[in-house]
């Protein structure tokens, strides 16, 4: 898809960033994934950034990805082969 950084199959890391510590925010990247490595499954389109919509600010359109994570790696427990599949915005992802 035009304008997107990550192709299906690419390994990505969720940024280990905590905007919650810097003031009022609305973040849709769950805490349990910050700093975790996953694999892009596909792009799900591009949508206005909810972090800005939540404060009625002008919101830039950002690509959204479906990213798969290995369960035991996220929790240090659980069954091998189980996975988490989560919608993550491009600006929260970095290449591995």
């Amino acid at each position: 898809m035009a304008g997107s950084m990550f192709a299906p199959g690419v390994a990505v890391r969720v940024k280990n960033d905590w905007p919650e510590t810097r003031g009022p925010v609305h973040i849709r990247t769950p805490h349990y994934l910050r700093g975790m490595q996953g694999k892009v499954i596909r792009q799900l389109g591009a949508y206005p950034n909810p972090e800005d919509l939540a404060f009625a600010r002008p919101a830039a359109t950002r690509p959204l990805y479906h990213v798969a994570f290995d369960q035991p790696a996220v929790w240090q427990e659980g069954r091998a082969g189980d996975e988490l599949l989560v919608e993550i915005y491009e600006h929260w992802l970095e290449p591995v």
């Binding site: 905590w18 919650e20 510590t21 009022p24 609305h26 973040i27 910050r34 909810p50 919509l53 939540a54």
Partner: protein, 102 residues
């Protein structure tokens, strides 16, 4: 094992405190209050007065103890009211007067 990170209190995935809590699998019918709040939010969204993102922000701003104590749609009406005040759709004086009248 709890991740020792500065998570927001609504960000509940995997939070240890709830891992032993049973899931109430019973169906609980929505009350008239519930349906009205739901409808109100939907209409405000459709009329571009308040978005679902703003609703969520308002819910997340509810202090932690209240967040867990309030029922689902009581969180919603608190957030809707908060947003309407912040956006100047209604004023606090108007709201207090309306509450006194009822």
């Amino acid at each position: 094992m709890e991740k020792d990170v500065p998570r927001a209190h609504h960000d509940l995935g995997g939070v240890s405190k709830f891992l032993c809590e049973p899931v109430d699998v019973e169906s609980h019918a929505l009350t008239d209050f519930d349906k009205e709040v739901d409808a109100l939010r939907s209409i405000l969204g459709q009329k571009r007065v308040m978005s679902v993102d703003e609703l969520r922000r308002g819910i997340e701003a509810i202090p932690e103890a209240d967040y867990h104590r309030l029922s689902y749609y009581r969180r919603w009406i608190r957030s809707i009211t908060d947003n309407l005040l912040v956006k100047g759709v209604i004023t606090e004086a108007e709201l207090r007067a309306a509450l006194d009248r009822a």
